[in-house]
Symmetry: C2
Subunit: 128 residues, 2 copies
DNA sequence: GCTATTATAGATATGTAAAGTCTCTAATTG
DNA sequence: CAATTAGAGACTTTACATATCTATAATAGC
């Protein structure tokens, strides 16, 4: 079980925009270069963030991506959910038991993980 | 990102052995039937638990699997590590930065998850 | 309006790991 | 020795992440 590289790219892009580009749009090419990933692939990832309202995109010359107005509230969990989806880490597909005690333990542990990721805002890392 | 089905099978097998089979070995066939998985595949998973010392196996007629003597100490995290490996959920492969702040946040969150899984023992679920 | 630039969308390819099967071997019981 | 059971290895299948390629849409500057 691992977080995808796409999540990694998305988080690093968010952090870069927050740190380095408060105003001007940044094109996908410089973002892709600095992360050693192809521009078309990164753009596909960033489009997911656009659809979730975390960043804005501007087409055309001098276009690119900017953070949305509410960017200071965006948490790690928000970004991860945008990229990986929101389904649970653990699916207990056995005998359709709604009261599976194993599932209860796993979901409770996942909640601890999510709480931490929800409380970690991208903006917390900027001040450093 | 999801936990594998193999982890699911392993956890359910551990719980079953703890609840229903304190003494007699249980063959892989009944264990596989009740989980709707092929016996050879399940045996491959259980062999990993054997190698980690969580269960014992006995070949031959009337053989099967039994819990090891220290089974009451075995945690969810132990089982998960045996099946999924121990590597981190998040690999930050960018620019080889040893001080990546994103990685720090992710690892800290993972720690919360692991703490919960470490404190959840299989034996805790038996008393119910 | 034309051209360059930039994001978006869709189809397609590639790589990798999980999930599962098949067959043979080894160990144990009776 | 025969039946039963676990283990090991090669192999197949499936699913998903990771791209790539090409075409389309939107915008800026001239």
């Amino acid at each position: 079980m691992k977080y995808s590289k796409a999540t990694n790219y998305a988080l690093h892009t968010m952090l870069f925009l927050a740190k380095e580009a408060p105003n001007k749009p940044v094109g996908v090419q410089p973002l892709a270069e600095m992360q050693n990933v192809s521009p078309t692939y990164l753009s596909k990832i960033l489009t997911k963030l656009v659809k979730e309202g975390m960043i804005n995109s501007v087409s055309g010359a001098n276009g690119g991506y900017t953070l949305s107005h509410n960017w200071e509230d965006i948490s790690f969990l928000d970004v991860i959910h945008a990229i990986e989806g929101k389904s649970s880490l653990f699916e207990c597909c056995l005998y359709d038991d709604p009261k599976c005690v194993i599932k209860e333990v796993m979901l409770s542990a996942e909640e601890k993980l999510e709480n931490e990721l929800r409380n970690s805002k991208i903006s917390n890392l900027v001040k450093k």
